[in-house]
């Protein structure tokens, strides 16, 4: 097992009080696996990722309870020194905005080299050679020249490629991509996503891809975790989620994927309302206020995790034996259009 999270709870201490950004997240990840973490803004996706990197904003952010195991080693109590050995070496990270996540006063080559010098004991020259290879790998043209350029001389898409090169430079076991395409143009989004997918297959790196958009996921992930209000509300493989989704929030996300084959009848419809403020999360199901199937119990009790199959689990009261049976409102042609629409950004 490469990564294993058990009932992870993360909070931030702010002036108003405790913000419970992550409220009990469990999942695990094998070598070479690609999983997607999907959900609206403010659901705790980035915070989950930051916890895995040991990068929670200090001193406000803290792991309240639960465990993070990296290659079987408990990491939640790691010292800063120990995290340095994980970051960049075992786990690489790609951030959302390529415009701001590269150092403006350092050449691209130097920024890729840094990690190599740090983790692989290379000297500057060796590291630069490797950086060149990495840039070729992420399909940047004119590498000889580009490597000595500064970020502002790169386009957005190229910068994100450079970010990918940085994340992959030390051959990490896992790459966390936090909304790697959200800030890019639609056409560029597709290119960057394809590149990420190809590289993943070539290098057999495990990937956690974080996104707002279920459409993005279909092309790359094997498993999907839908996150809402600080918890994972539904998890399963692609088929489980796309064709047999059971959670009303997942249905909502599916409906809001912009699709080319949409008919008038099932037009794109974003979910009404906003996610709960994790400053004072509701006692019951976090989705209750926005859910068309909400029941009394949803308001008061957190829904238990229901295992639909070996791979598929859902946290929703509808799956309780006592609950009325409801059918998925999704039109049967399901996710056929998902791949085509990977460029969209709506939720």
């Amino acid at each position: 097992m490469l990564l294993e999270l058990k009932d992870l709870k993360v909070s931030f201490d702010t002036y108003a009080g405790e913000v419970q950004a992550v409220r009990g997240v469990s999942f695990s990840l094998d070598k070479g696996e690609v999983v997607a973490l999907v959900g609206e803004s403010g659901c705790g996706k980035s915070v989950t990722a930051q916890s895995v990197m040991g990068l929670l904003a200090k001193p406000a952010g803290r792991i309240k309870s639960g465990s993070i195991k990296i290659e079987g080693v408990e990491a939640s109590g790691f010292s800063e020194k120990q995290w340095e050995g994980i970051r960049g070496k075992k786990i690489g990270m790609i951030f959302q905005d390529p415009m701001t996540s590269l150092n403006p006063t350092m050449t691209i080559g130097a920024q890729i080299s840094e990690g190599l010098i740090r983790h692989q004991g290379m000297n500057k020259k060796q590291a630069l050679e490797r950086a060149e290879e990495m840039l070729k790998l992420v399909e940047i043209p004119n590498v000889q020249e580009r490597i000595h350029q500064y970020p502002h001389e790169f386009s957005g898409g190229m910068r994100q490629r450079a970010m990918i090169a940085i994340a992959l430079a030390c051959n990490p076991e896992l790459v966390i991509a936090d909304e790697p395409t959200t800030a890019l143009d639609v056409t560029i989004q597709a290119q960057v996503l394809d590149l990420l997918k190809n590289l993943q297959q070539k290098l057999e790196t495990a990937v956690i891809i974080i996104t707002h958009d279920l459409g993005v996921v279909a092309s790359i992930a094997q498993r999907v975790m839908v996150m809402y209000g600080g918890i994972i509300v539904e998890a399963g493989n692609l088929k489980d989620i796309y064709y047999e989704g059971k959670h009303p929030y997942t249905w909502g996300l599916m409906k809001s994927i912009p699709r080319l084959d949409r008919t008038k009848a099932d037009e794109l419809s974003p979910i009404e309302g906003t996610p709960p403020d994790l400053f004072a999360p509701p006692a019951g199901c976090p989705f209750a206020d926005r859910c068309d199937w909400c029941m009394k119990v949803c308001k008061t009790d957190m829904p238990p995790l229901h295992k639909v199959s070996e791979t598929h689990s859902v946290a929703c009261w509808l799956l309780h034996d006592g609950a009325p049976k409801v059918e998925s409102p999704l039109v049967p042609h399901g996710a056929t259009g998902a791949r085509k629409s990977k460029g969209a950004r709506h939720v």
Binding site: L55, E84, G85, I86, G88, S101, M106, G115, Y150, H152
Partner: protein, 323 residues
């Protein structure tokens, strides 16, 4: 904007500014009520006319303006009206090196000290170091130059030397409090003059550091597993220092005006002392000449700083075509 057009633009603005300053200075001086020859005494008209003719004060204003511009182009700033047979340019040649020496020492002390303090404060944000540095910086900004000058003079010249007199029975001054005759003499004035620059630099650097620390690329740097020292040095300080470079211009101005006071307190024969004297004696040509010199010098320093900034920041240095 390319680097070339960036520089050209700065040079043009600077030249234009110098011209504006020259003109303003000239016309303002001609409105002056005081008169260098009259003072309180009644001077016979013939003598007065004579003097006016000698200094060209009888000609029409515009003609004098053109004359003045012509002379300026030749580097001639005229004669002092109160010091017999002293050319203004010679006064500058003789006194400016002293001021420049003092200024450079203060600047080095202020900038290096300030950068250090600012970095330490930002890295210990909200900790005791931060409080100390912030307090020191605030005191530095709040304490007038004449107060700090007089204060150090009092401490070293009276309290400290009294102790030395009592203990070692000598009047030897290890750190002298006046005149300008060697390294020991430069210590107190440089400290007094540089203190506010230190305060300003440390404030700027602290703010800039805190700003950079919140940038995404710092997260990237951390995600590479770099050590805190590497993150701080290669990513934080290198970026945070850039905006601080731009205050070097205004800071030079502050140091220069500071010399007016500090040179007076420490009896240093620099240009600031001459300036204050000439103001008090209504020495037209001297004020005019020194003002022009100071302005041009500062405008030039600003230009140098701006251009240096353009070369240091790759975003400006390597910019191609229009932004």
């Amino acid at each position: 904007m390319s680097l070339f057009s960036y520089i050209m633009r700065r040079v043009l603005i600077s030249l234009l500014t110098v011209f504006v300053v020259v003109s303003i200075t000239f016309f303002l001086m001609n409105l002056m009520p005081g008169d260098p020859f009259i003072g309180n005494k009644a001077v016979p008209k013939a003598i007065k006319d004579n003097l006016y003719a000698k200094y060209g004060l009888d000609k029409p204003l515009f003609e004098r303006y053109l004359m003045y511009l012509g002379n300026l182009a030749k580097g001639d700033l005229g004669m002092s009206m109160t010091y017999k047979n002293q050319k203004v340019i010679n006064v500058i040649k003789q006194a400016f090196p002293v001021s420049a020496d003092l200024g450079i020492r203060s600047l080095i002390f202020g900038v290096i000290g300030g950068l250090l303090l600012g970095v330490i404060a930002a890295l210990h944000h909200n900790g005791p170091w931060d409080t100390t540095a912030t307090l020191l910086a605030i005191i530095g900004v709040s304490i007038p130059g004449f107060l700090i000058g007089t204060l150090v003079q009092y401490i070293f010249g009276f309290l400290f030397s009294n102790v030395i007199k009592d203990v070692f029975n000598t009047t030897y001054q290890l750190i002298p409090i006046a005149r300008w005759e060697g390294f020991r003499y430069t210590l107190l004035p440089s400290f007094a003059l540089g203190f506010s620059s230190l305060a300003l630099t440390s404030r700027m650097m602290r703010t800039s550091m805190l700003d950079v620390l919140h940038q995404d690329y710092i997260k990237t740097a951390k995600s590479k597993g770099l050590t805190p020292l590497q993150v701080t040095w290669r990513h934080t300080i290198r970026n945070a220092i850039l905006p601080v470079i731009t205050v070097l211009g205004p800071m030079t101005a502050a140091i220069m005006t500071g010399t007016f006071v500090i040179e007076k307190i420490f009896a240093i024969p620099g240009l600031g002392k001459f300036f204050v004297q000439s103001v008090q004696m209504y020495d037209y040509t001297m004020i005019l000449g020194l003002t022009l010199f100071f302005s041009t010098f500062l405008i030039f320093m600003n230009l140098v700083v701006d251009i240096a900034y353009g070369f240091i920041d790759p975003r400006i240095r390597l910019a191609k075509g229009k932004a």
